[in-house]
C-alpha cells in the first residue's frame, strides 16, 4: 500500500516535472527529465503497461542503453569487468541508437537493423526503452515514428523500472549496426 502510494506520488512528481515535447529529436543532455508524451507513439509509463503491451501485441522490445564505459580516474589496480547486459526478455539491444548526434549513416544503420528485426513490417508493434530519465529511448522511438512505423511505443521506466517490478531479465549481447 505504502509502495503504491509512493509510486503514485513519484508518477505525479514526474508528470509535474516533465518538460514539453520537442518538435524533433532532443539535442540537449541525454540524461534528465523526459516529456510525458511522444507524438505518433504510445507512452508506457509503468512496467506493467509495458509488459501488457509487449504480450498483447507480441511487440518487439528495443533496448537502446549505452555500452558500459570505464570512468576516468579510477584507482590503479581496480578490477573493471562489465558483466553481460541484462534487459527485458526478447529485446534487441542496439546501444546508443537514441543519440541525437548519431551520424546520418549510423542513424540509417539503426533503421536498417530495425527493418531486419521486424522483417520490414512497418505495422509491427515496437517498444523502445533504456533507463529512467533517458532521452535516448525517446529519440530512438522518435526515429522509428519518423521512419513510418505505425505502432511505436516508448516505455519510459527503463530497465530499472522493469527490475523494480520484479519482472525477469535476460542476458544479452549488443546487435551490431
Amino acid at each position: 500500500m505504502a509502495l503504491k502510494q509512493t509510486t503514485c506520488f513519484l508518477l505525479l512528481l514526474l508528470a509535474a516535472a516533465a518538460p514539453p515535447e520537442p518538435a524533433g529529436l532532443w539535442t540537449g543532455p541525454m540524461d534528465g527529465p523526459v516529456p510525458a508524451t511522444l507524438a505518433g507513439a504510445t507512452v508506457l509509463p509503468t512496467p506493467l503497461a509495458a509488459k501488457i503491451f509487449i504480450s498483447r501485441h507480441h511487440a518487439l522490445p528495443i533496448d537502446v542503453s549505452a555500452l558500459p564505459k570505464k570512468p576516468p580516474n579510477m584507482a590503479p589496480g581496480m578490477i573493471w569487468l562489465p558483466a553481460s547486459h541484462q534487459d527485458i526478455p526478447g529485446s534487441a539491444w542496439l546501444p546508443g541508437a537514441g543519440r541525437a548526434s548519431l551520424a546520418p549513416d549510423r542513424a540509417k544503420a539503426f533503421l536498417d537493423a530495425v527493418a531486419r528485426l521486424t522483417r520490414n513490417d512497418h505495422a509491427r508493434f515496437i517498444v523502445v526503452y533504456c533507463h529512467p530519465n533517458c532521452w535516448g529511448s525517446w529519440n530512438a522511438a522518435k526515429r522509428l515514428v519518423q521512419a513510418g512505423y505505425a505502432h511505436v511505443a516508448w516505455y519510459s521506466g527503463g530497465i530499472e523500472g522493469w527490475a523494480a517490478a520484479d519482472y525477469p531479465l535476460q542476458r544479452t549481447e549488443p546487435v551490431a549496426y
Binding site: 534528465g32 576516468p72 578490477i79 569487468l81 533507463h131 527490475a163
Partner: protein, 263 residues
C-alpha cells in the same frame, strides 16, 4: 490430437522458465569463475557451507544502498574477508584484512547493486584456504543513481565520522559511519548534466589501543557514506583510531575514546 497439443503447450509453459533459470544459473557460475580468476591468483575459492553466511534483502528497496551482513562461523580462523558484487562492472566491494584486535564474527556494510546479481563472500583462513558462499539478490541501477546532495556540497563534509559502540568487555561491536559521496564516475550531476568525476574511499584502517582491528580496501561498489559494523576485542577502555583515505589522496583521522559505560 487436441490433448497432445494441450500437453505440448503445457510442457512449453512449464519448461521454458526452468530452462531460462538454468541458463541464468550457468551464466552466473561462468561470471564468478572469470571474476575469481581475476581476484585470486593461484588457488581458487571452494564453495563450502557452514563457514560464512550473507544476509541481504532478496529485493533491495534502494539499489544504491543495499545493506549486507557477513557472519563467520569460526572467527578464530579468519584472516580476511572479500565481498564481491558479481554483476557490477567493478565487482570487489571490499577486502577486509583483520588484525590482532579484531573479532571478525560479524561485518556489516552497504553496497551499490547495478543489476540482478550473485553476491559472493570469501573467507581467507589463517592457513591460506579460500572458502566462498553466494547469495542471489535483485536490484538494479545502483551505480548510476545520483547522490542526495550536490557534488561540491557533498565533498565539503567528506571525512566527517561517527562511531557508535556497544561496549561489553570481550565482545564489543562498533558502527562506523564516514561521510563521503563515494562518486563512482557513473553518476550524472543533476545540475550540470556532466558525469561527476570518480572519487571514493579506497581504504579504511581501524586500530584499538594501537593494535589493528582491520584494514579495508574498497572500491566503487561501496555505497556513499560508507557504514561499517565490526567487532573488536575490547577490555572496556582505550581508544579506537580510524583513518580513511580516498582516491584523491585526502586522508582523515579521528580517535574515539571508549566510555566505560558505552555511549
Amino acid at each position: 490430437m487436441r490433448t497432445l497439443a494441450f500437453v505440448a503447450v503445457l510442457a512449453c509453459i512449464l519448461t521454458a522458465p526452468v530452462a531460462r533459470a538454468e541458463e541464468d544459473e550457468a551464466a552466473r557460475a561462468k561470471r564468478w569463475h572469470e571474476l575469481a580468476h581475476l581476484i585470486f591468483n593461484g588457488p581458487q575459492p571452494v564453495n563450502l557451507p557452514g563457514w560464512i553466511t550473507i544476509d541481504a534483502p532478496t529485493r533491495a528497496l534502494d539499489a544504491a544502498l543495499v545493506p549486507v551482513t557477513l557472519t563467520v562461523a569460526d572467527n578464530r580462523q579468519v584472516k580476511s574477508l572479500y565481498l564481491v558484487v558479481d554483476e557490477n562492472p567493478s565487482p570487489v566491494a571490499a577486502h577486509i584484512l583483520f588484525g590482532p584486535a579484531a573479532d571478525p564474527h560479524t561485518i556489516t556494510m552497504r553496497i551499490r547493486v547495478d543489476q540482478y546479481t550473485d553476491l559472493h563472500a570469501v573467507v581467507e583462513t589463517q592457513d591460506g584456504r579460500l572458502i566462498s558462499t553466494a547469495r542471489f539478490i535483485k536490484a538494479a541501477g545502483g551505480c548510476s543513481a545520483p547522490g542526495s546532495e550536490a557534488p561540491e556540497l557533498a565533498l565539503k563534509s567528506a571525512g566527517k565520522m561517527k562511531l557508535r559502540f556497544s561496549n561489553q568487555p570481550g565482545a564489543a561491536h562498533a558502527e562506523l559511519l564516514i561521510k563521503h559521496p563515494n562518486f563512482n564516475g557513473m553518476q550524472m550531476d543533476q545540475a550540470t548534466r556532466f558525469y561527476t568525476p570518480a572519487r571514493y574511499i579506497k581504504s579504511i584502517d581501524v586500530a584499538y589501543n594501537g593494535q589493528r582491528v582491520f584494514h579495508l580496501d574498497a572500491d566503487i561498489s561501496m555505497a556513499s557514506d560508507p557504514a561499517i559494523g565490526f567487532g573488536f576485542k575490547s577490555d572496556g577502555t582505550g581508544t579506537l583510531a580510524v583513518q580513511a583515505e580516498d582516491t584523491a589522496h585526502a586522508t582523515w583521522h579521528q580517535d574515539f575514546p571508549i566510555q566505560p559505560h558505552g555511549t
